[in-house]
Amino acid sequence: MAEKLLKKGNEAIALAAIRYGADGYFGYPITPQSEVMETLMEEMPWETTGMVVLQAESETSSINMLYGGACCGKKVMTSSSSPGISLMCEGISYMAGAELPCLVVDVIRGGPGLGTIQPAQGDYFQAVKGGGHGDYKIIVLAPASVQEMYDFVGLGFDLAFKYRNPVMILSDGAIGQMMEKVELRDPVRRLTDKEITEKYGHWATVGKPASRKGNIISSLSLAASEMEAINLRLQAKYQKMRENEVRFEKTMCDNAEYLLVAFGSSARICEGTLEIARSKGIRMGLLRPITLFPYPETAIREMLPQLKGIMSVELNAGQMVEDVRLAVNGAVPVEFYGRMGGSIFSPEEVFEAFAKKFNL
């Protein structure tokens, strides 16, 4: 039997990092995610797996430490919350441009500005549309439970190395702070330096043997024609992600006439809304995007013939709803319900909003 523990989402991230064979964690304290680094420091993985854990001087520095570590072919990660992620956006763009794998965890708090330390989902645009400059995409995973916080660390690293691209776990203060049962998976051993050289020595900065040219990791290419070619290659990679990596979960969708679309903690709350609706004889389903990029637009489109209406439910002013509307393209009415700034809705509140919008 696998070991089961009662853990906060943030603690699960830390335990998963060690057990999925991360080589380095670099971070800077910010509520509501500080437990990630605190747990790592308590666990002292440098004594066991050899994992490096370092408190950086800023999030700018953390993400650039990731850049250096990722150049080395190492599994590196950081975690932060909204204002810290804003500081990291330059670095994320560089890493996407230089095609470097890394894992970034955003435990969102209410914004804008210093905002609040309460949970929110206001960083959807920043994560999914690119908070940094240039045409880049990162894979965005949205956990809705502590178990998924744990599991997505492993999945995130796998995807990051599969595509040599940054991956983000987009969570929020509720999932980060809540305690749930989490099953620890079989540990994955860290790669040795020799294994890294064998696997990634054709691109990573592991020290140049006489047998090859120097590996240069850069996002710079001054000639427009070269930069365009790089962009085209990146776009082709993002297209592959769209084709292969869409993940979502459907609840009570088979005979649904109305659909709620929600991710992360909003989706957890909407499970309660489904029960209320079903008890009143309303055929409501829930589609929970697990990957926010690539977005499960086909899954939504495929349901359109059976649907009378869709409501996107988010802890923000209406961000993901734009992607729902793009998928639906006017075929059925798409409504939005949300709250902002750290306030959270109840299942009943969501149901009331739904009933009002669709005159039920």
Partner: protein
């Protein structure tokens, strides 16, 4: 004796380092960057550490250092080289990691990164090219620009009341417990080039001994943006830069 009998490998007294590539450097003639690249490559070759050295290039004229020195390179965002170097050295403690940075990169936008990497005593080598100007972007004021010095953004000369004072960041860095070797050198004549090379070699040796951060400033010329001939730039540097940025070891332990 025929000249051909003299030109033989065993008679060579000087040659291009094998660690330098054949790529023609983009640096302006007279620029200090090229000389520093040459001695850095020579140190790497002489220590036999080409396969163990990872370089971090800055944003600045030396962004393309990776084209000229034949090692593995990471190209950092503006000012962030010490953060990349930190992670690289921690993840590969047995490799040599060298961050190469300009004065805008290191002493302005990247002040936090360099201070904290040095304060943590990362076992890295930092080479700091202080040419008192933003070379790459066309000669704007740098934190190190001297008072009175004309640049694109101080067209009437730097004024303390408007622009603050030139920053002696190397002296600040020498205060930090994490640094073991902090020195200021130059490369305007053969004697100074030899001294600067010795300093760079010592910095690499310190890194192997895990003594802490070694920091080598090179007071440099940017003759193009200073709008001077290379010869005049060297003279101007000696007369104006050296009094404010005196050469020599500031810390060695």
């Amino acid at each position: 004796m025929d000249i051909k009998d003299i030109i033989k490998p065993e008679n060579f007294v000087y040659g291009k380092s094998k660690v330098l590539t054949d790529t023609v450097m983009h640096y302006c003639p007279g620029c200090s960057h090229g000389v520093v690249h040459k001695i850095l490559a020579e140190v790497i070759e002489e220590m036999g550490i080409q396969d163990k050295t990872i370089g971090i290039s800055p944003v600045g004229c030396a962004v393309f250092a990776y084209k000229y020195i034949d090692i593995d390179w990471q190209q950092a965002a503006h000012g962030r080289a010490p953060a990349l170097a930190t992670a690289t050295k921690r993840l590969y403690p047995d490799k040599y990691v060298v961050a190469y940075q300009g004065d805008g990169d290191l002493a302005s936008i990247g002040t936090a990164e360099i201070m904290h990497a040095c304060n943590r005593g990362e076992n890295i080598v930092v080479i700091f090219i202080n040419n008192a100007i933003y070379g790459m972007t066309g000669g704007q004021m740098a934190p190190t620009t001297l008072l009175g010095m004309k640049t694109a953004t101080t067209p009437y000369g730097r004024r303390a009341d408007l622009n603050g004072y030139p920053l002696k960041i190397t002296e600040l860095i020498a205060q930090l417990e994490g640094t073991c070797y902090v020195t200021r050198q130059s490369v305007q004549n053969p004697g100074s080039v030899r001294k600067a090379k010795k300093a760079i070699r010592k910095a690499f040796e310190n890194s192997a001994l895990k003594k802490g951060t070694s920091f080598v400033e090179i007071v440099s010329t940017c003759n193009s943006n200073w709008k001077m001939t290379p010869v005049k730039a060297n003279k101007w540097m000696e007369e104006n830069m050296f009094p404010f940025y005196p050469l020599g070891d500031i810390k060695d332990r």
